[in-house]
Structure formats: C-alpha cells, structure tokens
C-alpha cells in the first residue's frame, strides 16, 4: 500500500520529494527536533535546562565519536583532549564581560581550532591501526591537560579559567518571548545554544554518513583491501573522519565551557574520554540516536539515582556511591543483554521481526 493512494496528489509529491532527498528528510527531522527542544526547554525548570545543556555537549561529542568509531572503525580514547581544546579556546574569548566576538563566532573559532589540531593528529593516526590508534589518542588525552598546567599564566594552571557567559542578546530573548511568552534564563539560553549546535551537527553528520563520504568510510572500516582495490585512498578517508570527529568534539567543548562556566584540567581527565566512549557503546555504535540516548543516560542517571538514594534514606555518602554502582550495573546489563547497544539491538530486533513476517 503506497502513500499516494491515501494522501492527495500534491502532498504525496511533496512527501515523495522529501523522502527521496536525504537533505530535506534530515532537515525535516531537525525541524521536528527543534520543536521538541523548544517544548522541552520551555516546560522544564532551570535545573533541568542546565542538565539538558550538559546532555547536549555530551551528545555532540558522542555523535562525533560514534561516526569515527562506528562508521570508520577508528577507536579514539582521546576525544576529551579535543573537547579541552575547544573549551580552552572558548574560555580565552570569554575572559571579559565584553567578548571580542559574538557567541556564534566563538563557537566557530573553537571548532576550527580543534579541527586544525584534529587534522594534525589525524594524519598521525591514519598511519596506525586498531589498538595503536587507541594508544596514541590515549596519550593525547593524558598530555593535553598538562599543556594548561605548563602555560599556567595564560591558561590558568590547575585552577583553570573562569568563563564569563556573555549576556543574552536582546533579539534572542525577544524571539523566544514572541514564540513562547517565557523569559530566558541563562541556563535556558545555554540549553538553546547547546541544542541548536547539536541539531546542526547531527544534520551534517547524518548527511555525511548517507553520502559518498560515509559509504567510503564504511568501506574502509569493513575491508581495507577491498576498499583500496576499489580506488579509495585509505589515508585520506581516515584523516577526514578523524577531522570531522575532532571538530565535533571541539564544538562540544565550547558548549561545555559555557555550561560549566569554568575550564580546568581536572574537568578533562581521561575519565571524560572514556565517558564519551561509554555513551557511544551504551547507545549503539555508529548510531547518532544511540549517541544521544547514551548522552541522556550519562547526564540523568547519576543525578536521578543519587536523588532516589537520598529519598530512600541513605546517607549523603552512600547516595553518592550508589550512582557509580548503578551506572556500572547498567553498563554490564547493556553489554550482556544488548551487545549492539540500546539502539542497535532494538533496530536489530525490528529488522528480524520484519524479515520473519
């Protein structure tokens, strides 16, 4: 039963055009996402807004990582370092109450700076395989926070740089007020910045993975020899994937700097890089939706579990220790029951059901 028999002809034609054009389809999804973002941010309190901002930056970085690891098969343990580069770039711009560039400009500069660093690292990483890339990027994750300590005069050393989030621009507040009749708090403002960045990134990543570039990346991942015989330049494909992924991490770092209001080396420990990888694995390798679900779990699970622990009458210390426990158990359960990650397993089950039907 085709769509056209039910829907009037012009609409069907429009729908057909949308579903046949990848870009239009993704833009439609993004528009739909935007509506949901506005509804969610407007109907939740400031604290949740701030949590959604955290979810957004984790989501952007995890999205970038899932493309690198899931589509191109390169395992990076150093994405926390790229976030640090993006975050420090942003923090350097937001030292005064009157930054030299508007927020959008700073976000772009942070992304571009990280992109350049990512290109340099990517060229090196493209020569390595499997565990060796992981090792090299691991070294990066350990080394980059050290840079901030070494140049402690400009980068603030152990105590980091405070980030002064610029005032909410009037036009932005007016637009939001026109649409929603609500005032914009700072946490909501950063929530909007984070989610607009996330939507833009995901549209670009989704397009890229559906395009020729994405097919090349998958080909390289699945069989290097076959890909090379088909005329694909392995090194170029690998470097490109790495650069795109690093740029995402840089943007995520920029949003993070604004959401956290400080950029300090202890925020970019190895744990951050591993956290991103966890988000990707939990959600499902190679799936952007999975990266988003992973980011949501990482943001909300610890806080909700600690809250439940408190309500159940545990002491502060016990409640604080409950969060890593539940988080670890979730991880073990997902690996045991849904080895392809949450989205991956659901998608697999769906496909099997469809085939058997």
């Amino acid at each position: 039963m085709s769509v056209a028999t039910r829907v009037p002809a012009p609409l069907a034609k429009a729908l057909g055009r949308i579903s046949s054009s990848t870009l239009l389809r993704h833009l439609l999804f993004a528009l739909f996402g935007l509506v949901i973002v506005i509804l969610v941010l407007e109907s939740t309190d400031q604290f949740r807004n701030a949590q959604f901002a955290s979810m957004a930056y984790l989501g952007i970085a995890a999205g970038g990582l899932t493309v690198l690891t899931g589509l191109n098969g390169q395992l990076s343990l150093g994405h926390g370092a790229f976030m640090a580069i993006g975050a420090y770039t942003t923090a350097l711009f937001f030292q005064d109450s009157e930054p030299p560039l508007p927020v959008v400009g700073v976000l772009i500069v942070a992304t571009v700076v990280t992109l350049i660093v990512g290109a340099a690292v990517g060229v090196a990483a493209a020569r390595l395989h499997g565990p060796y890339i992981a090792g090299a990027t691991l070294a990066l994750a350990v080394a980059v926070p050290g840079i901030a300590l070494f140049f402690s005069d400009t980068l603030g050393g152990e105590q980091g740089l405070n980030v002064l989030v610029p005032d909410i621009p009037d036009w932005f507040a007016n637009v939001v007020f026109f649409i929603t009749a609500n005032e914009v708090s700072t946490s909501k403002y950063i929530g909007y910045i984070g989610w607009l960045c996330l939507l833009a990134t995901f549209v670009l990543l989704a397009n890229l993975s559906r395009s020729r570039v994405g097919r090349v990346w998958r080909a390289v991942r699945d069989d290097e020899v076959a890909a090379e015989i088909a005329g694909i330049n392995l090194g170029r494909a690998r470097v490109l994937a790495f650069v795109v992924s690093a740029a995402c991490a840089g943007l995520a770092g920029a949003v993070m700097a604004m959401a956290v209001r400080i950029t300090a080396p202890s925020g970019f420990s190895l744990t951050l890089s591993l956290t991103l990888l966890t988000a990707v694995v939990l959600g499902g390798l190679g799936s952007l939706l999975g990266a988003l679900i992973g980011a949501a779990l990482l943001t909300f699970l610890p806080q909700v579990v600690t809250g439940v622990g408190h309500d159940a009458g545990l002491s502060d210390l016990q409640a604080a220790e409950l969060a890593p426990l539940v988080y670890g158990l979730t991880m073990v359960l997902v690996i045991l029951l849904a080895p392809a990650g949450i989205v991956g397993s659901i998608r697999g089950a769906w496909r099997r059901r469809k085939e058997s039907a």
Binding site: D45, Q46, E158, G160, L164, N174, F178, A181, V260, S266
Partner: protein, 445 residues
Amino acid sequence: MKRWTRKTTLVTSVVTVGALVAACGAGGSREEDSGDGGASDVGITESSIKIGAHFPLTGVAAPGYSEIPTGMEAYFDYVNANGGVHGRKIELVVRDDGYNPTNTSQVTNELVLKDEIFAMVGGLGTPTHAAVVDFLNAEKVPDLFVSSGSIQWGDAPEEKPYTFGWQPDYEIEGKIIGQYIAENMPDAKVGLFLQDDDLGVDSEKGVRQYLDDQIVAVERYTSGNTDVAPQIAALKAKGADLVLAFNTPSYTALSQLISMKLNYKPKWFYSNIGSDPMLVGSLLSKFSEGAVEGASPLDGVLTTEYIAGVDSPDDPWVQLWQKAWDEHGGKGELTNYRVYGMAKAYTFVQALMAAGPDPTRDGIVEAVEQMGPVPGPELAPFRFSEDSHMGISGMQVVELKGGASDPLTPVLVTDTGDAPIEEDNSGAADDAPPASGIPEVEPAG
C-alpha cells in the same frame, strides 16, 4: 476550480499554523523589567531552613575532606535537638562533586535550582568552588564560609557580595610563618615546597614579605601528580635545611616518604591544611604499605593552628564537639576534620541568629558583615565587614609532639597586604561556649 481550492488550502493552512504559533507565544515584545522582589527567602519555611554544600565524598580528595560534612551535620542535629534556630531546624543537603569543577557546577545547579537551598555553607575546594562562585552571586545565594583559604573569596566583596571566607587565608598564614622564621631561625636556608595553585601563590606572597633573603629554593608540584621526588631532590641539592611546605595532606605524606628515601632531614614546617597528624599518619602507613606506622615522622614538625583540635580534649570547645558527636554523630571517632565542620556549623548558626527571626538572603549577608566579635571556637576573631569578607584573622605557630600540638607563639593576627602582625588581645582564644552548647547572638542591626 481545483487549482483555486488547492491555493485556498495552502493559504488557510499557512495562516492557521501561523496563528497557532503566535497564539502559543506572547506575540508581543518583551518587557525589559524583570525584577524578582519578594523571593528573597528561598529555602525557609516556618519550621526549617535548607542549606547545601558541595564536598568530595568520593574520589582522590575524599579521605579527610568527606568527614567535614558529617561534623557539620552532627552539630546541626545537636542544635535541632535543642529547638533549632528561632524555632527552625537546619537541614544540610550535601552533594558529591568528586573534586571535579565540572561536577561542582552541576551539583550546585541542582542545589540552587532544584533543592532551592537558602544558602551554600562550606562548599569545599579552590578550583571547584571557583567554578560556581559567579553563579551563586548572580543568583544572589549567600555563599558562606567557603572551605578554602584562597584570598579570592573575601578580597573583593563588591564583586562577590554574597561570598565569605572562613579559615585564615593562605597569605596571612604565609606572613605569620615568615615572620616566625625570620625572628627565630634567622640563619636557616629556607626551601619552599608549594602546590601550584592559589595555595602556593598566596602563601609565597606572604612568606616573601619577611623571608625574601633566606629563601634558597622554590619547588612547585601539581596536585594529582604523585611523583614529587624531583622537587624534594632539588630542595636537598640546593641545601635547604628548613622546608616550608604549603600542600594538602597527601603531599605531606609523600614528601615525608621521599625525604626518608633520599636521606634528607631538614626541619619541616607544614601549613595548617597539610598537617593533620591523624590523617597524615594513616596516609603514611598506606603509601608505605605498612613500613611507616603512625604519625611519628611528624614529631618535631612545625605547623599552625586556628581552632583547637582533638589533641586537646580539655578545651571547652573540643568538649562541646565531643558531646555533639557522641549524641548525634554517625560511625567513627571525632576527628580534626569533623571538628572543622562543627566549628564552621557553629559560625553558621551564629550568622543565622544574627539574621533575626525572619532571615532573608540579603539579611544574612548583612548580618555577617555586622556581626562583630562573638565568642566562637576560632582562636582569633573574624575580619568580616562591609569592606572585607575575609575569615579568621590569625593563628598560632605550634610544634607537633606525639600527635599533639605544643604552642610556640601566642595567637598572632594580621591582614593581607602590609598590615602588621600583632599579638591578639581580643580574648578570642580564651572564650568558651555557653553551657547549652548553642551560640547566643542577638539579631544584628
């Protein structure tokens, strides 16, 4: 006809959607005025006051520091059991930040926006608290008695009107130590062992005012990097025979172990925060895997003191803490960290009383500024005023002997900058708590 219908449908749908969107929103321009009057007593009900704090309950900084909130809670429970403050019971919400500023930012959002605390009391750590100090001031949340001696909490009350320090800042500690060395050990070759953040920077500034010529070596370490052998070896090579160390307790243990290994035996002078004999002793035996037992290596070490600790069980304040801990504490013994927490809780109860029967956020800030000298566990009076939010004004130099401290000087008070160091004559060191164990403070103003 058909084309016309289609056009109308299109126009109608566009108009409908547009109208819908406009109906959702205000469809007008926003008014600039958004003052929030009247909401100044968040977190306060008829019968309770909710306050919050961030502490490292898990992770590397947890040993020692995680005991502070248990001490605070025990003393608040003691006050609550005796009727509370103006009939209200104090409820402390503690959130774990694992000493990571990213987490501090998140848990502070939760405390302020979700738990709706009246005030932050005793949030711990310099880099961690620095991540939230602007937010707390922007939200006009009183940020009382930060658990860190950085001068940034109190030196600019016009920029951070809601933030107050508590313990003596690192700069005056450096000054008092510097003067003591200059007067009593004028021939010592001084080496500095500094943590590379405000702790090291502020205290070096203080020390150099008195000791600039005597310093032969300055070595810095980064918190988190546990290999300090190069720094200790450099101090040894430059011939320092007196090491002034401004570091956290783990690094006291590490520096002791490494100097034992290098057979380096200078006189050690540890700043207050790094010198708790009990914690350092347990860390020493842990790091050395049992080879070094107890705090005996710290015998003869010089340090400073600004509240009486568990080693002086006859002190009336320590007796009060012991009583509160026995009645309301959880598991474990009374430790110096719990004493620190209780002393800080005592100051908060004083501030709350000074804020009167109907405390507001702005009211308590004003009350702390105007509280003046009140009897408390601190050996020297606070410096709180409209122009300064700095905490306790001084301390005394002590020598550790068998895990207890033996005073070498009277209580010395001073301020940051060129303020002279003087003997304290306010009597703050000799006061005792009221028999009830609950402060008696009249509402200020």
